[in-house]
Each structure stands twice: as structure tokens, then as C-alpha cells.
Assembly symmetry: C2
Homo-oligomer: 503 residues x 2
């Protein structure tokens, strides 16, 4: 991987990067407006904030679809024929420009309005626990998203949606990934259900004051390598991470006093995202290559730190003394005593509460339903029944009501179709990357057990973070691990935990 | 004063207001970027923040100078001939559009760069306490500002700069205001210097923990009428207030543990600005009329709450029990014991540390120097000597070094020429408005003494805040007080305090 050496860039490339820097700066401004809305904004300011966001988003879209930018890009594409750095630059710019130009301005405006009405309707429907109250807005939104997808790719419209979040991924690829994964996980869930094993939940009992959780969480973030001179940690109702700029990465968390898990694993999850953003290639700054490769790759980083590091015995060897410093009444004295409660397998109705093993079955269900919505084989009115059927098939459970079924996620209400599969891509990639890191880096577990995270972070920096969007996500995983993305490493990870706990 | 009834606005006016709303939203975004920079931003993010600010400011300028907007405005001006509401709308829009269009884009870019280099040079010069290190950048900035002023008004260039901050104000008007003020204040300062009176500073001794100051300051802000659902209070090195939107007004403060005054009067000063922003006419929202009338009018609101309310015996009758709750060791038991230390008169070298009486002499000096820089009678190399001469003439003091003289303010380094006079306009207007409020509202002092601030705030809302930019600042003061702006009320306020303290 060669850097885009901007000192050697020709005037057209420099012009492209200059225009791109402005577009990226505006994207950063939109992120700051959203971050502020979730963490700082006074409650009364929602309406003015919506205007501000719309104004900046509109201007960014204008810039991205500017004819001068297109002409500059076309000139760069000619230059790129015999230069891989220039080719990568032009390819990523072309991706964004084409997407932006293919969607008619009128459709973009209708979509923005439908998203905002969609969220409001979803919230009302959640309040009443009735899908019927969401049905019309969802149908309208779906119709507009079908138009958008058709404008992007008339032949494979759903693939065009997937491609926004996971460049190069198609429903056909996903099918190859999901089909054996579903089968193996369903078998595992059935085996667990019929086993006699059970986990003592003593480790979960206790009171964990939020300020102490915050102090511990901040310390963990520092120890794993987050640079607080180039970022922040704040509280918000729904944790997230935003790369406002590579020097301004902000992540948030949310804690519960009665349960340390949402806070601790929330910090580890979001700091995984944050480390990726802080590790993006500064030498390509302002170019479309200084971005994460995809949402799936982003999720691979958060899941790696949350699950493969944060739930491991080795990590708890290091953490437990610090943890007991903050929470002296914590009943577990050995890392081995904590480990079981962090690996319980239990089918449940709500994705965000699901354990690592059953989680991907929730994603699989959404993938199948989305795909059916876009190939015309499923209509909105059939969605609740189809949802229930998928839950029965994959998890052996049936939703008790709409809130625990088809109404549980906000994604579709905001127009995010083709987004769910990136969660599973992230889970699979996390396992595969962690397995490779373990074989590449000698004694990784021993390092983690004494709080040395640099060997792991260094491996991720070199193999993933510093490569930005140079490679496609598929190429990136292949280069980093020597194999295409698959479910073997993930199945081995959850399989071992299940066998250990449930025999 | 009639509202701009947007339901009755014709299509052209609605089009103007729609375009204006976008410009105002972008201005709000710039404010949020700056607010965040001063309060939240990680230290390493300065460079990316500068890019973000430049991107949004550039787009806002583009929008403001857009030919379509100009055509819409011209159409509105025709409609405005027989409609005062439409006339005020068109007048204020024209002011901003003309200013923006008259400054060549190349000059605007040079100025932005020169400002940023100017601040850096000023900081270096402050660090070395040597004006020579600031001289070249200041000279360059001044040259560009002279070009800008000439582009705006070739006949009276300095007036064009004043007009940005204080619409309608000219150097000739200011001369009429400053000349007698200077004379009267210099006499007062000499009288105090030769008097035998002295003030016991016992009230200032003590330790005032910052968290307790914060709790008290927040309570005061609430009591005087600040709506925390439409705003925030945070800490920053240099206190300020920003109307990001009328529903999102943020002010900041800074406290010292050894002295309660910067924190307390900082809160009262900034909350005065904040109450103005929260009181602007919501029914004109998105139009240029929903803005403060001028910087001087803004400063009148901050100074009114800081000095005329916050330093009064009546206010301390209400505050002292709350104050002693937080600071039980505070030695004063009666409001009358606190009052003297809040009214000490003592000539000093630094404007921001000056008392209410000598403060305007600092401003007068800067006004005379600026004016001379722009009429060509003073050159940058002569500035330190001219500064010393003004200090000698007005305050009987000579700067000990550059940092306590010509290098003390950041304003000129950021290109703010014509800005200083608004401080004195604000001080004079505060006194005149408060005197009128006292005669219009029965028993205002008694209300304040029991913590009832609504009668005063209600008067300010009606006479000042809700009028937005409908009237010029001169008309606004005249309508609110029945007289043109003058120094009589202010001189009576400081004169009485001096006589009471120094005989």
C-alpha cells in the first residue's frame, strides 16, 4: 500500500483533494451538529438544529454534485490509468460523486422529509405498541427508497443500497455468508437449549455508581490507546462514535447503576470505532482515502475490542484489580469467575439485548426481510407476520408484541435499508482479524493480561486503520488475514464458549 | 412597532425570508463551531476546526451574495414603499447584502488569512512583551482593512467600519458623545485621586470554591430570567455569549477562587447578553429583523445587569443570604458593606480590569487612535508612543510595558477596528435605559431587593428585546427613554457613587 503523496500529486489531483477537503469539512460540521444534539443541546433547540443540519447537508450535496468537481475528477481518472495511488483516489471519489449525482434533488428532498416523518411515526407506534401506526409512513419511505435504489442500479436495486455501507457487497455474496452461519448458529442454540448447563449470575449483582463507572471507562479508553487530545468521551442516551475530524473523534456512552455491562462494553465497543477513526491515514487527509473502508469494517473494530478483548479471561486478569478498586463489593475474585456471565447464550426477542451467539440470527432475519421487501416478494402489510416467522425459524421464539418484534429498530424508520448486514460482516471480520492477530503477534493474550494493548493496536493500525479506503473491505480482510471473509473464526469463537459453558 | 406577519407576507417576501433563514442557520452553525472550540473541542483539533469554519463562512458568503437573493431583495424593496414592516425587512437585508457584495472575494480571503496570522503574531508579541513582533502583521492587516473600508465607503472609510457594529453611527456622532464624557470623567478621576476617601477591601477577602460559585451563578441566571431549556452555561477562558439560534443561546463564564468578582459579574454580564438573545422577536424568526439592533445595544443589556443591577445595594439585599449560604465565611453581613468595594475608582493600565468610571476613558483612547490610523494621521510605528500619550492625557498613567499598553487587546489583531466604541455606547445606553426603567416601573428597587426581576426584564423585553433590528440603535434608545443617547445618566450614576465613596 502506497500513500497518496500530495507533494507529488499533479495540479488536478490537488484540485480534487482541495474540493474534497471542503466536502469532508462540511460532513464533519454535520457530525458536530449531531453530536451536540445528542450530548449538549438545550431541549428547546430541536427545530433550529434541524434547519442547521438541512442547510449544511444541502450545501455539501451541492458541492459534491458540482460540475467543476466532476470535470476535475474526470481529468484525474485519465491520470490514474498507470498509477495505483491516483486510481484509488479517483475510484473512491467517483463512488461518492456518482451516488450523489444519480439521485434526483427532488427525490433527495422527499426522502429527507419522509425520514423525519418516519421517525416521528415510529416513535408514536412504539408508544402505542402498534405497527399499524407506522405502516403508512414505512410504506411511503419504502416506495421512495425503491425509487432511490432503482436510480442507483436498475438491475440490482437492493445491492445499490448495500453498496453505500459496504462497497462491493451484494445480496448474492451475503447469501453465501449467511446461509451456513444461520444453520450453524441455529444448531448451536438448539444444543445449548437442550443442555443441562447453567450459569451462575452472581457476578452481575451489585451497585455500580455511574461516576465510578465513568472513571474506570475513561481509564480503559486511555489504556487501550485512545488519544484524548484528539477526541472526547461524553454521555448520551444512545452511544455512538463520530469522526468529526481525524483530530476530533468523539464517542459516547450510557451507564446503568444496577448493571456494569452496558457501560463497560459500551465503552469498549465505541472506543473500537474511535481507535479506527484516530488511526486513519493522516497523510491522505482531505482525500476520500482517509475514510474507513466500510461500516462492516468499522463494526469489526468495535466488536473486536468489545468481545474478543473485553470479554476474554486475559482482559479480566488485567481489569479485575482496577474494577474492584472502583467496586470493592464485586463478588468475583478471579477472571475465570467473571467469564461465564459474559458468555451466556440465551435466545431473546430484541437484537440489541442479544448475546454474541444469537445476535447474528437477528441480523439474518432482517437481511432476508429487507431483501424480500426490495425484490417485491414481501409487502409492508405482511411484515409483522414475516417477522414472526423468521424469529420462529431462527430462534424458536415468537414476538410477544410489536415493540418486541417488527417495531424494535429505528433503522428502517430513518431509511436505513441495506445497513443491518454490516453488523454481521463486522462480527465475522472481528473474529477473523482477532484470530490472525493472535497468530501474527506472539503472546498477545499475555500482553493483554498485563494491560499491554499496543501490540494488538499496532497490528490493527498497520493492517486496517492506516489503509483507510485504499482497498475494498473484501480485499482488506483478505490481505490482513490471508483468507476471504468467512464465518469459520466466528463460529469457532462462539462454539468454544458454548462448549465450555454448556458442555 | 408592527410585527412582520409572515402569513401576510407576499411570495417575494417569503422567498427573501426563506433565503435569509438559511444564511442565519449557517451563521448559527459558525457560532456552534466557535462555542465548541472554546468549551469542548479537544486541543489537537484546532486545524480541522479552522477548515470547518472557513468552509461554512465561505458558503454563507456565497449565499449572501447570490444574484437570486439580490433580485428577490430588489423586488421586496419595491413592495416596501408603502409598508413599514416590509421596509424594515428590506432595509436590514440590504445592509448585509451590500456590505457582503462590496468586498471583493480576493480581499475577503486575504483578510481572513491576515486575521489568522495577526492573532498568531499578537500572541507571540504578548509572549515576548514586544510590540515590534506584532508590528508587521498589524501594518498588513491595517492596510487590508483600509482597503475594505474604502470599498465600503470611499468618502468616510472609518464610518463604514463603525457601521458594521453600530448601524448609523459615525465618527462625528461619536465625537459629540466622547468629548464631554472624556472631560467629565477625567475631572472625576482627578477629584477621586485628590480626595482622602479610601475603601476597606475586607469584603474581597476569602476563598470562593468554584463549584459553589457555579451553583450560585446558575441560580442567579435562572432567577433573572434565563431559560435553560433554550440555552446553556459553560466554562471558557474568555467569557462570551452566542445566539446560535433564538432557542439555543449559550453563554460562558470563568471563575477565580480567590476573588468572587470575575465569576459573579461575568455571569451577570453575559446573562444580560443572553436575555437579549432569548428575547428577540420569534414572530420575525429567520428574517434579518430577528437580530439585536447593534453591538452597543447588546452591551447595554450586559452592562445594565452587571452594573446597574448587580452592583446595587438592592440586588445585594436579595443576594447576600444566598451568597452567605455558599460562602459562610464571607465577612459582610449587610448589603451596604459590600457596596463600597464594588464601586472603587482607581485608574489602571488595562481596560478589562478597569472600574466602571475609568473604563470609558480606555475606550476613548482606542477610538481616537483608530480614527487617526484610518484618516492617515497616525502610522503603525507611532502607535506605542501615541498609546502612551493618550493614557497620560486621560488617566494620568503611562504603560509600564507593551503588554500593559498597546498589546493588551486582541481586537485589532483579529481585524476588529471600529468595534471599541460600542463598549462605551453600551455603557451610556445601559445607564440611560436603567434610569428610564426606574421611572417607568414603580418600585423597581424594591422588586430587585426581593429577587423579583420580572418587572425590569418585562420593561427591557418590551422596549428593547422584542424590537429586534426594526429600529436603528439611535431610534431604539430614543423611543425607549424619550431622549437621544447621551452621557448624562451614566455620569450621574458614576458621579453619585464617587461622591458617596470619596466625598
Amino acid at each position: 500500500v502506497r500513500a497518496v503523496d500530495t507533494t507529488r500529486a499533479n495540479p488536478r489531483q490537488r484540485q480534487l483533494i482541495a474540493a474534497w477537503s471542503e466536502v469532508r469539512a462540511l460532513a464533519g460540521v454535520e457530525m458536530l451538529l449531531s453530536w451536540d444534539q445528542e450530548t449538549m443541546m438545550p431541549t428547546g433547540a430541536a427545530e433550529s438544529r434541524a434547519l442547521q443540519l438541512a442547510a449544511v447537508a444541502g450545501l455539501r450535496h451541492e458541492r459534491l454534485t458540482d460540475d467543476t468537481l466532476l470535470a476535475t475528477l474526470a481529468a484525474c481518472e485519465v491520470d490514474a490509468l498507470d498509477d495505483p495511488a491516483a486510481a484509488a483516489l479517483a475510484r473512491e471519489a467517483r463512488r461518492s460523486v456518482d451516488r450523489a449525482r444519480k439521485i434526483p434533488a427532488e427525490l433527495a428532498r422527499s426522502l429527507a422529509a419522509a425520514r423525519s416523518r418516519g421517525v416521528a411515526a415510529w416513535q408514536r407506534a412504539r408508544g402505542a405498541n402498534r405497527f399499524a401506526l407506522f405502516r403508512d409512513e414505512l410504506a411511503h419511505l419504502l416506495e421512495l427508497k425503491r425509487q432511490e435504489a432503482a436510480a442507483l442500479d436498475p438491475v440490482q436495486p437492493y445491492d445499490a443500497l448495500l453498496d453505500e455501507y459496504e462497497p462491493g457487497t451484494t445480496a448474492a455474496n451475503l447469501e453465501i455468508l449467511f446461509e451456513p452461519l444461520e444453520r450453524a448458529l441455529s444448531d448451536l442454540v438448539r444444543a445449548v437449549a437442550s443442555s443441562a448447563g447453567r450459569v451462575d449470575s452472581a457476578a452481575l449483582r451489585g451497585t455500580f455508581p455511574v461516576d465510578r463507572q465513568r472513571a474506570l471507562g475513561r481509564r480503559i479508553a486511555e489504556c487501550v490507546g485512545f488519544d484524548f487530545e484528539r477526541g472526547r468521551l461524553d454521555a448520551s442516551a444512545h452511544p455512538f462514535c463520530m469522526g468529526i475530524a481525524s483530530s476530533d473523534v468523539r464517542f459516547t456512552w450510557r451507564a446503568e447503576e444496577a448493571d456494569f455491562r452496558p457501560g463497560l462494553f459500551g465503552i469498549l465497543h465505541e472506543v473500537g470505532h474511535a481507535l479506527y477513526e484516530q488511526g486513519l491515514p493522516v497523510e491522505w487527509l482531505g482525500s476520500p482515502l482517509a475514510e474507513a473502508a466500510s461500516l462492516g469494517m468499522h463494526e469489526s473494530q468495535s466488536r473486536l475490542w468489545e468481545n474478543h478483548v473485553g470479554r476474554s479471561v486475559e482482559f479480566w486478569r488485567w481489569l479485575l484489580p482496577l474494577f474492584r478498586e472502583q467496586f470493592p463489593d464485586f463478588p468475583c475474585r478471579r477472571a475465570e469467575d467473571v467469564w461465564p456471565v459474559l458468555h451466556v447464550v440465551e435466545p431473546s426477542l430484541v437484537r440489541v439485548d442479544a448475546d454474541a451467539t444469537t445476535y447474528n440470527l437477528h441480523v439474518a432475519a432482517r437481511f432476508r426481510l429487507e431483501r424480500a421487501l426490495f425484490d417485491g416478494s414481501l409487502e409492508v402489510d405482511e411484515l409483522p407476520a414475516a417477522w414472526a416467522a423468521e424469529m420462529r425459524r431462527l430462534l424458536g421464539l415468537e414476538p410477544t408484541d410489536d415493540n418486541h418484534g417488527v417495531l424494535q429498530d429505528i433503522h428502517w424508520a430513518t431509511g436505513l435499508f441495506g445497513y443491518f448486514p454490516t453488523y454481521t460482516i463486522g462480527n465475522l471480520a472481528a473474529a477473523q482479524l482477532f484470530a490472525s492477530a493472535c497468530s501474527d503477534v506472539g503472546g498477545l493474550g499475555e500482553h493483554i493480561a498485563v494491560g499491554e494493548f499496543e501490540p494488538l493496536l499496532g497490528w490493527l493500525r498497520e493492517r486496517i486503520h492506516r489503509r483507510g479506503a485504499w482497498l475494498s473491505p473484501a480485499e482488506l480482510v483478505h490481505e490482513a488475514t490471508g483468507a476471504p471473509l468467512g464465518s469459520a473464526a466466528f463460529l469457532s469463537y462462539v462454539g468454544e464458549a458454548c462448549r465450555s459453558l454448556y458442555g
